[in-house]
């Protein structure tokens, strides 16, 4: 479903070339829940940005759901992102002027979904994250955990094939982090493919598949059963 082959990303300045990713290879199957770990500056977020088509890559091939991402122009990437991918960010990234309902509505508006259908989806997603009664609240009236649940609801509203989560529990305390993680697991059980970048090894172990990024390359794979590693492999 997601195939990256020899992906490289080079940041070029006048003085230096920085290889954020080099010869990065990855296959993700439908329905997987993958945790991406690695030290700071290793290229995790760059990988996620490229996976989410937020950044172009320098070399390689990237096929997402049968679409060759490298051949898309900016507008096509935006459409593809809108239809296939949901984002969850560490900082929630809710728009402060919009209430919860309106925040969740944002991607649906860009997709051109009619108001009635938008309403149905938003109410369903708010119900799913347990915030149906707070639809008219502004983000700053909610706790961090609640805001992240709204962000998840926003990501789910578009019924995406992929959820890309960048440190989704990074700004939350352990209780809220656990609640958010349980929500993501539930969403994965419902069929969504999730790629989650995290620093938290405990949370990472809850994902059925772990990958580690070091110096812009994939370092290893670990499959877990529960919290116990069952397989360790190098490369793809």
């Amino acid at each position: 479903m997601l195939q990256m082959k020899n992906i490289s990303k080079v940041y070029q300045t006048e003085m230096v070339q920085t290889h954020a990713l080099r010869d990065f290879n990855l296959n993700v199957n439908e329905g997987e829940f993958i945790a991406v770990t690695g030290p700071s500056g290793s290229g995790k977020t760059t990988f996620l940005n490229i996976a989410g088509m937020l950044e172009p890559f320098s070399e390689g091939d990237y096929i997402l759901d049968g679409v060759n991402v490298g051949s898309l122009n900016d507008n096509q990437r935006a459409d593809c992102r809108n239809q296939k991918i949901g984002f969850i960010f560490q900082g929630f990234n809710l728009i402060p002027d919009l209430n919860l309902y309106e925040n969740i509505e944002v991607p649906l508006r860009y997709r051109g979904i009619k108001a009635k259908e938008r309403k149905r989806r938003i109410e369903q997603c708010l119900e799913q994250v347990g915030l149906a009664s707070r639809a008219k609240h502004l983000p700053q009236q909610l706790s961090g955990g609640q805001q992240q649940r709204v962000a998840i609801a926003r990501a789910l509203a578009g019924e995406p094939r992929f959820l890309l989560a960048d440190e989704p529990t990074g700004n939350l305390d352990s209780l809220m982090a656990r609640q958010v993680m349980e929500l993501l697991e539930q969403i994965n059980r419902d069929g969504a493919t999730i790629i989650m970048v995290t620093h938290d090894s405990e949370l990472a172990r809850r994902a059925p598949r772990n990958i580690q990024v070091v110096d812009g390359q994939l370092a290893d794979f670990t499959l877990y059963q529960g919290t116990q590693p069952i397989k360790v492999a190098q490369g793809v």
Partner: protein, 437 residues
């Protein structure tokens, strides 16, 4: 999406009320000043009689001998001699034609309620009313027979009728002009004229006369000329009769020519007339010349809208540009501060065009609000102009086209100013801001 973008713009204004207010104020001041000067310019240069301005022609004849010069661009006098005006009027060539001159009187009536006052008058032939579209409230114009017989009749304006007769139908009443009595035979409706195009000699923006009388009274009563009389060579003019026979120019002459053929015929007629006059010892020049200009050409020829007015309009637009430059800076700051939100929207599927449109709509709304407030400022500006110079009374106003233009100019100039900030924000790389929020 348009309604959604308008909603987002309104929220943006509420989020940053001070900056938004400053931008609207800057636009309003720029638009207010621009529309003040533009409205005056628009009224000055507007076609005063659009449905027939291309059919009415002012006639000039190059009467001067070779070697004499005039101050006009083509060296031709602006008016005709009395004898040429009389000859051209008698010729019957052209659909309608008229001759006229400005005069004036002391006006009074048999009433102690109205004090005598001085009033300018137009001595003209009866075609004046048809050719320049004057309508009658009461009575009518004088007949050709009354014209031929120099009948002591007068047509007065509605305003003068209100002043002398308190607005009652005054047809049949007698008024005194200097020492002679005249019968009122008609009252014209108000004639709202911003430019006194039919006689530009004594101020293009003066009000039309309020007394209209047969042209033949000029000779019959030897009335004085309140307009310009210009001579171009030495003549011994010691009597009124001598003035009528002189080569001095002081009569205005207009002809109505409805087709190109009529115009061609009239041009040929004028040439033939001058050739005929040469046989009588007049028009002593190698090349005969005449002027036949329609209303708009006549106004341009007489520089009704001076260079100063054009420069003033240009300066006001430059001031608007300075206001917009300030707005551009504020927009840049405002939009770039919003880059993180734009990053989120881009991540959620907005393409660059949608982001661009969102911001352009916001700028257009600023322009609309600034334009509406600018109209209010322009009204104050025009009020100031009217109070400073009385002859701007009818010029310093905003007609419907200017009222509609104000927000359009404001919106379009704001959109131009907002193009760069909107473009800059829409090409923001979303990835930069998503992590840092």
């Amino acid at each position: 999406m348009l309604v959604h973008y308008i909603d987002l713009s309104w929220r943006s204004f509420k989020r940053t009320p001070l900056v938004s207010f400053l931008m609207v104020l800057a636009i309003a001041i720029g638009i207010g000043i621009t529309m003040t000067s533009l409205s005056v310019y628009h009224m000055m240069s507007a076609d005063p009689i659009p449905h027939k301005s291309s059919q009415l022609f002012s006639v000039q004849l190059q009467i001067m001998d070779d070697g004499s010069t005039w101050w006009t661009s083509d060296n031709q006098p602006l008016q005709l001699t009395y004898q040429d005006a009389a000859n051209l009027y008698q010729s019957q060539v052209g659909a309608q034609r008229l001759k006229m001159v400005r005069s004036g009187f002391s006006v009074y009536i048999d009433s102690d309620k109205v004090k005598p006052f001085s009033q300018s008058a137009r001595l003209t032939t009866p075609e004046f009313f048809n050719m320049f579209d004057l309508e009658f409230l009461h009575g009518s114009k004088w007949s050709q027979q009354q014209e031929d017989n120099a009948a002591p009749v007068v047509v007065i304006s509605e305003e003068l009728n209100n002043k002398l007769f308190a607005g009652k139908n005054s047809v049949g009443q007698v008024i005194y002009l200097d020492d002679a009595s005249y019968e009122v035979i008609g009252v014209t409706k108000n004639w709202p004229l911003t430019i006194k195009y039919y006689d530009l000699n004594n101020g293009a923006f003066n009000q039309p006369e309020q007394l209209f009388m047969p042209f033949s009274l000029l000779e019959a009563k030897q009335l004085g000329n309140w307009g310009n009389t210009n001579g171009w060579k030495h003549e011994d003019v010691r009597s009124f009769t001598a003035k009528l026979q002189s080569e001095m120019v002081w009569i205005q002459f207009w002809v109505e020519l409805k087709t190109e053929q009529q115009k061609n015929d009239y041009e040929n007629y004028l040439l033939a007339y001058m050739q005929e006059q040469q046989k009588l010892g007049r028009f002593n020049r190698k090349e005969l010349a005449f002027g036949l200009r329609d209303v708009n050409q006549w106004m341009a020829y007489n520089n009704v809208v001076s260079e100063d007015n054009k420069i003033l309009v240009a300066l006001s637009f430059m001031f608007l540009a300075v206001c917009l430059a300030n707005i551009l800076g504020l927009l840049l700051a405002k939009f770039l501060r919003r880059a993180p939100e734009v990053g989120v929207r881009r991540a959620l599927g907005a393409n660059k065009r949608q982001i661009f449109m969102q911001h352009i709509i916001e700028v257009a709304m600023l322009g609309l609000l600034g334009g509406l407030l600018g109209i209010v400022f322009a009204q104050f500006g025009l009020l100031g102009v009217r109070q400073s110079y009385s002859y701007y009374e009818s010029l310093a106003t905003m007609d419907l086209s200017m009222l509609l233009s104000a927000p359009l100019i404001a919106i379009s100039t704001c959109v131009i100013a907002g193009l760069y900030p909107a473009w800059l924000v829409c090409k923001t790389n979303p990835a930069i801001y998503l992590k840092s929020q």
